[in-house]
């Protein structure tokens, strides 16, 4: 209903063309790294930490911290967009690609069509399996050359930069492969089920 609507005397701060073209609709450029979490930051000691793939797999797998680090590392440089409107360019991460981990388990991609990421503290988020394959998702443990800070999801978080950042579950401890879609934490609380920033899929019905 914005047709013809003008906020009286609002001029705004336009970004230059190259920046504007890189910002998804409704987003602004952020240079800091805001923190958003629904509860206290969990602190699981690394010796008790593990990462699992469970659900619709022939045999579930579990890796310790050291075993996870032993997989080949990748260093994606990506833009990230939070549903609260900020976008941050050129973030340097280090992690293991989710595809690498999924190659360690046997599953039927016609059955296991969705994944539920689960985290310390009880957080969950749901994604189509296709969105974590093909070099589009990582379990990231390093940010800008440093171990990932606890308030940003350390020791490890999911990194799925092509979707709003709530899909990049902090404090991630595993993935559950499922045959039907199942809304996660924010997806059950009015946020969009898929969350494509370029389609501005912020809330249910967007």
């Amino acid at each position: 209903m914005s047709e013809g609507f003008i906020s009286r005397a609002f001029r705004g701060r336009r970004q230059q063309g190259d920046v504007a073209g890189r910002l998804p609709p409704g987003q602004y450029l952020e240079r800091g790294f805001p923190v958003l979490s629904a509860g206290p930051t969990p602190h699981t000691p690394l010796e008790r930490w593990d990462f699992s793939i469970v659900g619709n797999v022939k045999e579930p797998k579990r890796w310790t911290w050291q075993e996870l680090l032993a997989f080949p590392h990748e260093t994606p440089t990506v833009d990230i967009s939070c549903v609260t409107k900020w976008t941050k360019f050129d973030n340097h991460w280090e992690g293991v690609s989710v595809e690498t981990l999924l190659q360690q388990v046997e599953y039927d991609p016609n059955v296991a069509r969705y994944v539920i990421a689960f985290s310390d503290g009880g957080y969950t988020t749901n994604l189509p399996l296709a969105d974590v394959l093909g070099g589009k998702a990582w379990v990231a443990f390093s940010y800008e050359g440093q171990p990932l800070a606890p308030e940003h999801g350390g020791p490890a978080r999911l990194l799925v930069p092509h979707l709003y950042f709530w899909k990049s579950a902090k404090w991630v401890r595993g993935l559950r492969l499922v045959d039907h879609d199942e809304p996660g934490f924010w997806e059950s609380l009015g946020y969009h089920n898929y969350g494509d920033p370029w389609k501005e899929e912020r809330y249910q019905g967007d």
Partner: protein, 252 residues
């Protein structure tokens, strides 16, 4: 973690500014008449969208300060960020009679309703008071007697948002206790706390963990991290601690 599904679609709606109030040097309350408002719960927020003449738009999120009982009037309290794009407009340019576009309510987790009971612990840092004020106003509007404590950290006496109203609520209600801490400057004779929030302060103010309070913390990230970690240290269940954080966003 609890769930509650919000059905339907959040469409943009237009409200008219019917009142503004300067709360502090940097915080302004804006009351809107929203004829198509579908109601909200205390603690939720809205997205505000500004549109320039050439069609350029900017969106930001702001907490609702008013209780559901005041609808179709909705009050936002906005803190001006000096380098902000939207908050200077809302706090300095917008005036009574202007129209504002918004959609909401948004966020179904950081909410409190009287039916959820208590005891209730609210911990606010700076303008983090805003969604907690909606809870206190809701509590007062429905005549709730849920035992409630607010610990509110501000830089100085002049920076306390809703200062007079909090004092009135505190005096009128034996089941409500408002405790301030002023971190930078204190007026002469100040008897509340005068340091940054810490575990000892929360041990003194918060309910003992065996009373299983519902806890809501809102403020800048370092404040929320400290308060939430302290409450966990004091034995409170992490699942009963709900947090909402906002800038300044300098740290990486």
């Amino acid at each position: 973690m609890e769930r509650r599904t919000l059905p339907g679609r959040l469409t943009w709606q237009r409200g008219e500014v019917v009142a503004t109030e300067q709360e502090t040097a940097r915080a302004q309350s804006i009351t809107l008449a929203l004829p198509t408002w579908m109601g909200h719960r205390a603690g939720q927020h809205v997205d505000v969208r500004l549109t320039a003449e050439d069609g350029y738009q900017a969106e930001r999120s702001y907490s609702i300060a008013s209780p559901p009982e005041e609808q179709p009037r909705v009050t936002l309290t906005v803190e001006r960020l000096d380098d902000g794009e939207v908050s200077p407009y809302l706090t300095e340019e917008l005036r009574v009679g202007d129209k504002l576009e918004l959609r909401g309510p948004i966020g179904g987790y950081f909410v409190w309703e009287a039916s959820m009971g208590g005891p209730l612990l609210l911990v606010a840092g700076g303008s983090g008071i805003v969604p907690l004020m909606a809870m206190l106003r809701h509590r007062a509007a429905v005549g709730s007697t849920v035992a409630t404590r607010l610990l509110y950290s501000s830089r100085s006496y002049a920076d306390i948002i809703y200062r007079d109203e909090l004092e009135r609520l505190d005096e009128a209600d034996q089941m409500l206790e408002v405790v301030h801490t002023l971190t930078r400057v204190q007026p002469p004779g100040w008897t509340d706390y005068h340091r940054r929030i810490d575990t000892d302060m929360l041990r003194e103010v918060a309910w003992p963990s065996d009373q299983h309070p519902l806890m809501y913390i809102c403020g800048p990230t370092p404040f929320v991290e400290t308060a939430a970690a302290s409450l966990v240290t004091l034995g409170h269940e992490p699942a009963r601690i709900k947090t909402e954080r906002f800038g300044p966003t300098g740290e990486a």
